[in-house]
Symmetry: C2
Subunit: 488 residues, 2 copies
């Protein structure tokens, strides 16, 4: 008897056990939203497509399958190649699974009878995929609601579910998308429990790295340690994005770590590091950045910039609550950074005049943070009819411009970078001349950058911090010198 | 000044440094083969497409980019989105790179001038992709040779390179494929050096696992340890396939470890383990399976089956050399397994009679091994006009049926499994009745299975073993008890 019949997900006693009730609740929330839409008639059925295993180019190997995010949200199915249907009126849920050939048992594992899958995923029925058309014919849906909509971070579309013969039915592919996206924006208590878990494991992994890092190590060794900690101790087979392990001048490259910049530099004493790394558990993301000197002791310069960013991070954390506009939070972070850089002699003049010409974006060129959930850059940032994306420097990279509400999960990740190409151009630009102090700025051009990224859930009156890592200069220096970190 | 200008690949002093000369030699080999083909006129130009970064579903995240295998073989380019051309007559090589937008420098890293790329990859010229059509117009090729052909392991095709306006040229997409495939089948000294390196790192990682494994651990913790060792110590960011960490009855599932069977079982004292794991370095694969009891001490039953498979493995290793037919090696391994199982009382009767009805495939249902190189299941197994795939049990899964030649790299991986679904059916089948001893076989039904997989290169007179791990029962028990393993 396989443990797959148990309607839960677990990676052992040291990990978090998740009941598939989470998905029943998600489906219920979605159906009640859809029932309130007048364009959705009685008898509507939602039809979703699960992710498919991908092979690399012409080969027979590929990355470990990870479920498509909407499908995971709705069903929690671990395997590839499924479809799913939800009757909006009754909430009944049906999964369609591939009919596996007999040889599957030899090569890939025990073929679970459909009854086992039904128990495992606690759905009302499980049918084979080649019976989808028959099943829909029997249901006589008034309309089949499929999913089509643009992801506002990637510009890409989720693949719409279909089957041979779907043209005999009424299909609507626009009603479902905004509703399921809005459901994903607001996290349930069950989802928050997973996010707290994966943020805890990832925090522990960051602390492990802080304790083991030494000058002379390669940046990729940090990635390796982090991944190993999250998987070995937390059951996180995936990270929620490619680890950014940037040291020295690389710390000013925001998305460092990809195959073109593969975390391959040797870290040297004196370097500042920006480690932006997050584990993923049960397809839920974390996204945490810790910044510190590789040798464990901040220089005066590093302390100044670090505390500048920390002050911005904390100002935002203290200000967020329902009703607050996210773009205002970005501007708040920017203002704190400008004030601090002024007090350290890199800038001069009036802060609000600086903000008018976007001096902030010269040092803080990315957005303050983003929604986070099943995707690290979670959906729902720019819903149809909501606040539009700004066209201003910095602000235009914000992945959402929404008013905050309780149960939204976001990152708070202000940063301050010394990007030569940006700053050299700015220092010879009339527009900025009155504000920039080139002599001082030039002392920082090889500095790299600092980002401090936390994950929070908006609560009734403020926000709850989901990660717990050393944040003050004193805490970091103490932990890196072997001291305890007791918050976790 | 970036180290990218150096025409070599390295992951630091502890790793292997590879000169891009490797690819110049590969291109030269390919051109001289093509020049001998009468259908290839003077003035032909090869045109290849590099791999592209993939995003998961609608999101903006995806797996770390890994170069397409033919493109890597020809150029060694680390970045995604390139094309490449090789003039067959002169051997001149040109890379076409994406023209990156200015913001790339902020988000993704320094934009290397084309001159740097030309130095880094030691090619004759580097142009932007939007100039491909102009470049070809200037070259006036007699024919553009593009790559199209079926991968005989996956049944899939590599994506053919193209550009807007290619229809104005003569294009041939069939001549290149068999020639480049044949080049990939035979490894150069430079390629063998990488394969030796990645097999050494992966061997060390297997030994690390043997030393640390304990009952009560989760199978995925083995995967995590292995990956960490290969990356942290060897610079292997990827494994060459998904780690198979099968324990107990799972050891009889040949491709265990995928998302549907995610290495999630708790290993218990007494379990046999099959750990099939290989690191990848510079896109070159390793593929090693170690089998042993989780608690470090073989039972009598485990010893019998283990030594059965080891004997088959060694018989093949001792028999391989140029001129030998790979299918004969499969049958040799099968024969040894049948003999041993007979001597242990699981089978009875005449071995050659057993082979006539394919009794071997009941216990050893997969192929003996496969070509290995840039792909773990490397190309060239069934070239057009060569030996065809058998339709017999066991043999039909062989990924090649070729006659061995020097510089081919292959795995030798016999196995003996107790797959309930296969054996229960066989024990009630008249065809097998005279050979099977159900009373003894039934004692093994929960055993799982054993696979012993080595990587070898065929030499002038035999074969060189590329991996070095404890193989005898005595060696394994000693290393698992903390003893030294000195072969490495
Ligand atoms: Mn982030
Ligand atoms: Mn293999």
């Amino acid at each position: 008897k396989l443990n797959k019949e148990t309607p839960e997900f677990s990676r052992g006693p040291a990990s978090l056990t998740i009941s598939v009730e989470l998905h029943a609740e998600n489906r219920k929330r979605l159906c009640s939203k859809l029932k309130k839409i007048k364009e959705v008639p009685a008898g509507a059925i939602i039809f979703l497509k699960g992710g498919e295993e991908e092979l690399r180019n012409d080969t027979d190997v590929g990355p470990v399958f990870r479920q498509e995010s909407y499908f995971h949200w709705a069903f929690g199915v671990e395997e590839s190649g499924f479809f799913g249907a939800i009757a909006v009126d009754s909430g009944n849920a049906v999964l369609f699974c591939p009919e596996l050939p007999k040889e599957y048992a030899v090569w890939l594992g025990k073929i679970l009878p459909r009854e086992h899958l039904q128990q495992r995923y606690a759905v009302d029925d499980v049918c084979f995929i080649n019976k989808i058309a028959d099943w829909f014919a029997g249901q006589k849906p008034s309309v089949i609601l499929t999913l089509k909509g643009k992801n506002t971070d990637s510009g890409n579309y989720a693949e719409e579910a279909t089957f041979t013969g779907i043209e005999k039915f009424t299909v609507n592919n626009s009603l479902l998308f905004p509703e399921i996206v809005e459901c994903r924006v607001f996290k349930t208590a069950k989802e928050l429990e997973i996010l707290r878990y994966v943020c805890r494991i990832s925090s522990e992994a960051h602390i492990e790295v802080m304790r083991k890092i030494k000058p002379g190590m390669k940046e990729f060794q940090i990635e390796s340690m982090f991944q190993h900690y999250c998987y070995y101790n937390g059951g996180c087979r995936h990270t929620s994005y490619t680890c950014i392990c940037a040291s020295g001048a690389n710390a000013a490259i925001l998305h460092y770590g990809h195959a073109g910049e593969p975390n391959s530099r040797t870290m040297e004493a004196g370097d500042i590091c920006n480690f932006d790394m997050g584990g993923e558990y049960y397809c839920y993301a974390s996204d945490i950045t810790c910044a510190y000197p590789v040798n464990g002791k901040f220089t005066d310069q590093q302390k100044k910039i670090y505390n500048t960013v920390l002050k911005a991070n904390q100002a935002v954390f203290n200000a967020v609550k329902p009703g607050v506009l996210w773009t205002d939070m970005h501007l708040l972070a920017e203002k704190v950074i400008l004030e601090e850089l002024t007090s350290h002699g890199l800038l001069k003049g009036d802060i609000s005049e600086m903000q008018k010409v976007n001096v902030g974006a010269l040092f803080f060129p990315h957005g303050l943070g983003h929604l986070m959930g099943i995707d690290v850059h979670d959906v729902g940032g720019y819903p149809e009819g909501g606040n539009e994306r700004s066209t201003l420097p910095g602000l235009k990279y914000l992945r959402t411009a929404r008013v905050l509400e309780a149960d939204m999960v976001l990152t708070i990740e202000p940063g301050c970078y010394f990007i030569e190409s940006i700053l050299e151009e700015a220092m010879s630009d009339e527009k900025y001349k009155g504000f920039l102090c080139p002599d001082v700025i030039r002392q920082y051009l090889k500095f790299g950058g600092i980002r401090i990224e936390d994950d929070v859930v908006i609560t009734k009156n403020g926000a709850e911090l989901l990660n717990h890592v050393p944040r003050t200069v004193e805490e970091i220096e103490s932990v890196m010198a072997g001291g305890k970190f007791t918050k976790i």
